[in-house]
Subunit: 598 residues, 2 copies
């Protein structure tokens, strides 16, 4: 049976030693008190909750799944109680401002906790996770009354939230959505329409659910410019504090490949009472204000998959005796050697490890940028952080989930036939993670966002900003013999990326189809490059620790060896991606639609 | 809802136009009567059975799954009836010799039918599919009495068979198996032990089940050299034709990621009566005689996944309206363009198409080699076919299933969120196909077989035999302008493979761990190369048809365009694989076992 052990040492390495969070917290207004010791204490407490409460519900939640009833959706056994403990422990309120009852920790702290919760039990974590979108929407765009009535309950976790975007015919193309909002004499609206794929749309864990719904006003222009944002509660709060049912109901739940314990709802709004959030017809713009945060949250699922699958596969590879090392028995006294002696098993484990630890470094760096963008007193620093986030978030969302899915599949492969059997939990990670490549914008959508909007849209400026950071790192370490192979590879790959970008931008300017033809492989190239940068940084930090004398030589040596593995056995994938990008889109467009099958 | 349409035109292209099956059948003793018209008629009939009977049970079989009862395993609704139709139609007996009641068609014909059955419903196809191993074992190694008593019933399909290899502690490493066979005074044996992962180990579709069981005689040497083969029927046939239960029972069935309609059984043999097959302690050698056929059968699952997922994704991409083409609306009168206008959607569809049609060409070529090895009167030709099969079968098993799994995942991605929902069937292809990378020898086991046993074990001779065929093709087409880019790429990749092989063989000779460190990526390189060879051959055949004047210009043009796509957008993957192989295994072995996580 799969268990979860929070990698607190690795998290601390990334936070304190690699990214310098202690100095950052000391410099951000309102964060000064979060010393490394306090941070460790909070995260240690969160780790226990994840290991002891959430992880044991991982398999049972998948087997039982959610149940639709006419009275509402029932979550699997134990989910309700775990949520109550979560609210009780104050975890819901961790990173929200004190003026709404929050504990005011920096956003990164909430994300670190979510990393652990999501790894222990992704499906469960989606319920509180979905609240963040609603919370952010109301915080930024809500009226004072909306904040007073709804935000405090969301912050405490007593109520949860959803984002109701997708309709049956409108997924990636939200411009086609049809849900209507009719103005009512009292200033409210009557919302009518059906939304699908609404995660946490209904459940039995909270007293009320606050839906943020995309809909059209009667006179709205067509397409994406005619979409407004509405707050539609499951139950309408009355002046006396009681809750009266609204015309909102869950029509059915989807039967899915995975995340069976997360209710994916068809939500029917039948002239439901709703309230406009922000300006009319500006709904999509309002949502874009926290798009990066939502995508970072989904990227975490890739990290979660890589970490959990690595933990499972490593334990198995150490225990399972099967075959002998080709270079002679390594545990001659036993009936066979453990799997971990085999180079190909090690290749799979190291790939998982490189993805898990590399993705953690990458995503925690983005968490740091979120903190700066949210809290820094320096406008120029905020802008720098926002620019970097704008560039790197689509890379994180698509690349880290693609890598996490690969890692999850490697975990099954390490287990062999036993990996295919449900009881071990390894195949569940594959099933659960598969959706991460789709929701919150598919990998292809992220790739177009990166190449079209972020890189070409900024005239290359956002990319140059990032490239300068990498170049500075390479320059700083140019003279170090122990870093030479990594710096050389990073420099060469950076140059390749620069040339590739020039090339793609050139052809895409003449023919926009060339952008979409190149975008996915371009994004994957960039993902491997960013991860390589993180591994080079980790190697330098670890080499410095080793050079300085340390009681944890094994820990730091493992970092250095994993970095070397990454650069030798993973980074070369960039070359094929570059060749595919350079091949262009002509062969994609040559076949007439009708001739794909004859 | 996913449906299946047998690609009869494409199958005919591969058989008759690409591979020249008509001339082959005309030349093989006993196959002369199988003219193209007769073959088309037989396969057309099989296609109807697959489309009308098997495909409709694909989703329902997955949802219902198998049920264990104390009386035996119950298969999903409709499975029994479909099997009765299969036996009734004579499909079970298609490719078996007339002396045992078979219809005597060449082996390839049985495999063509299995391609369609497996694509329509892989889980169902496993029941008759598992009989082949038992049938072949008895045909080659059985006594006359065993053949008389068991083989005729297996051939007719009245009874089915299994292969009982794996035990809980002995998977890839069969040398560790413990099941015992005690001799009995009457010349039979008492078999005692527990086997796991036994596909079709128990079910309600046939009157009896013939288990082929690997077990140890009392005085057997340890390891793989002490394994014998036993026939252990579920029910013992009596002289009067009645069946008396044997001490064989299904203890439980596995709950799996996919192929839920295929019973994966724990089989208990409790002093069950069994009969020795072939010579004592030669069980593994006996099994190796049909290892290639079994692996080819499993490779078909990769082809099946690519084909079925492509059919589903293509239909959806043509129907689903979402977004507008970046180069301007393509269906301006509609509310949006169909997905298929988007270059990235086309990239995914073309990858599926290139895998499905390329894998079909590859595997049907192997089917042809099976025919030659089985039927040719010319010993030298048989030897040539066997050598090629020995080399290419592990490539087919590992590469085609890896490619099929990628294709299945792309199918989900084309569907977006809808692909994650079970009712559409797209995610089921992913779940069902995942096991193909594991059973019948994992991809890593195939890779070691290819690199260690086949390539290094033959001193490079088997590879040179294949390379000569590719070089001859390149020489034949060297002067053709329309083939120039493909021939150039094929030649360059062939040279790269040659150099890579020399390199790997060199380092592996000094350090055997280097073989396993390189094997997986080496095999994948070879897989892309073989598929490239098949696509170049298909392009040449199609270009010739176009040059000769044809009423099917669209069909042949699509082949040419898909070949170009493959060489531009898929074939470049070989470069990264080569770089990873060349990087060697040092970084895989550097980390001590205890330091993978700290």
């Amino acid at each position: 049976m799969l268990s979860y052990k929070a990698p607190l040492r690795d998290m601390r390495f990334v936070r304190d030693e690699l990214l310098g969070f202690p100095a950052l917290f000391a410099s951000l207004p309102g964060c000064e008190e979060f010393t490394p010791d306090l941070v460790d204490a909070i995260l240690g407490e969160a780790a226990r909750f994840c290991e002891d409460v959430l992880a044991p519900l991982y398999r049972s939640g998948d087997e039982e799944g959610c149940t639709w009833t006419p009275e509402g959706v029932r979550t699997p056994a134990g989910f309700r109680e775990a949520y109550a403990q979560y609210v009780e422990g104050g975890w819901a309120a961790l990173s929200t401002p004190p003026e709404y009852g929050g504990q005011g920790l920096p956003p990164s702290m909430g994300l670190f906790v979510e990393d652990m919760m999501g790894t222990a039990n992704w499906a469960w974590t989606m319920y509180p996770g979905l609240s963040h979108g609603a919370t952010r929407t109301l915080k930024v765009h809500g009226t004072d009354e909306q904040k007073q009535t709804y935000l405090r309950h969301l912050v405490s976790g007593e109520w949860t939230g959803t984002m109701c975007l997708t309709e049956a015919h409108a997924g990636s193309d939200l411009g086609m959505l049809r849900t209507r909002a009719e103005p009512h004499a009292d200033g409210s609206y009557r919302i009518t329409g059906t939304k699908i794929f609404i995660s946490a749309g209904d459940h039995d864990m909270a007293a009320n659910i606050v839906h943020i719904v995309l809909a059209r006003l009667p006179d709205a222009p067509p397409g994406t410019k005619g979409i407004s944002l509405f707050l539609v509660p499951k139950k309408l709060p009355q002046a006396d504090g009681t809750l009266v049912p609204n015309s909102v109901s869950c029509g059915s739940i989807e039967h899915k490949m995975g995340i069976n314990a997360s209710a994916t709802c068809v939500m029917n709004f039948d002239a439901a009472t709703g309230f406009l959030i922000g300006e009319p017809n500006r709904g999509l713009n309002h949502m874009f204000t926290f798009m990066n945060a939502a995508r970072l949250g989904t990227a975490m699922q890739g990290l979660a998959a890589a970490e959990l699958s690595f933990q499972g596969a490593l334990a198995y590879a150490r225990e399972r005796l099967q075959g002998r090392s080709l270079s002679g028995p390594k545990h001659a006294s036993g009936p066979a050697d453990p799997l971990i002696v085999h180079p190909n098993i090690r290749r799979m484990l190291l790939t998982q490890k490189a993805y898990a630890e590399g993705s953690r470094a990458f995503l925690y760096w983005l968490c740091q940028l979120v903190d700066i963008a949210d809290k820094s007193a320096d406008a120029a620093e905020r802008k720098r952080a926002e620019d970097l986030m704008a560039l790197l978030t689509p890379v994180a969302k698509a690349f880290v989930t693609e890598a996490g899915y690969e890692a999850a599949n490697l975990g099954v492969q390490v287990f062999g036939g036993h990996g295919y059997v449900r009881e071990h939990g390894m195949e569940q990670i594959v099933r659960d993670t598969r959706i991460a490549l789709i929701y919150e914008g598919t990998s292809a959508i992220q790739a177009l966002d990166l190449l079209g909007r972020k890189i070409m849209g900024s005239g290359g400026e956002l990319l140059r900003g990032f490239a300068a950071i990498v170049e500075e790192f390479c320059a700083q370490n140019a003279g170090r013999e122990d870093m030479a192979p990594l710096v050389a590879a990073l420099t060469a790959t950076g140059k390749r990326l620069e040339g590739l970008t020039m090339h793609v931008a050139g052809v895409a300017m003449k023919n926009p189809d060339e952008a979409d033809a190149a975008a996915f492989e371009y994004l994957m190239f960039m993902g491997y490059f960013v991860l390589g940068f993180m591994w080079a940084r980790m190697a330098r930090t670890a080499l410095d620790a080793l050079a300085g004398g340390t009681g944890e030589a094994d820990f730091y040596s493992a970092k250095v060896e994993t970095a070397r593995f990454y650069f030798q056995r993973i980074m070369p994938r960039t070359e094929s991606l570059a060749l595919c990008v350079e091949a262009g889109g002509a062969t994609l467009m040559a076949l007439p639609e009708a001739h794909f099958a004859l």
